[in-house]
Amino acid sequence: MSAWLIAALALLPALIVGVVSAARGAAARRLVAIQFATSIAVLLLVVLDFAFDQPSSMDLALTLALLSLPGTLVLALFQERWL
């Protein structure tokens, strides 16, 4: 088992904590938890890319990193005006 795979397995519970936090509590806390879970998910995808030695899957991490910007901005706008 490579160090990359061990690191990915060690990051997985951290992602679960972020996802569970995003599913509970007030809307404001959920918004912050979604940001936190997204950050960990990007790091996890990068580590998984090296663990399974699949260079093309780095695009998944890149896409998630780029899409988190408009996605979280829309959520922040909803939080500010309606939620």
Binding site: V17, A65, Q79
Partner: protein, 94 residues
């Protein structure tokens, strides 16, 4: 070289877990936003450094560096937008 990669990955995982504990421990959402920045910058830098040591100069490494730059800059913007939204919303409720 392998030892340095292992150490960097262990450091990244440790920093992420410190971030998780801080996220659960801190009380306000404004404080929690600092944790996100900490994980983005510190753990992201460690994983990027490990990727550079592992691959050297390759397309995958440059994508990894680009991802780190994106999450660092977008993270700052998102923290500002989120804290502004939370601040306005909490101001309305008072």
């Amino acid at each position: 070289m392998n030892l340095a990669i292992d150490a960097l990955l262990a450091f990244a995982v440790l920093m992420t877990w410190i971030g998780v504990l801080a996220f659960l421990r801190l009380r306000t959402n404004f404080e929690r936003l600092h944790v996100i920045t900490f994980v983005n910058i510190v753990a992201g830098a460690a994983i990027t450094a490990a990727a550079v040591l592992h691959d050297g100069s390759s397309g995958r490494t440059f994508k990894c560096i680009f991802i780190w730059l994106v999450i660092a800059t977008a993270g700052a913007l998102l923290s500002h937008a989120t804290s502004r939204a939370l601040h306005l919303r909490e101001g309305e409720r008072r």
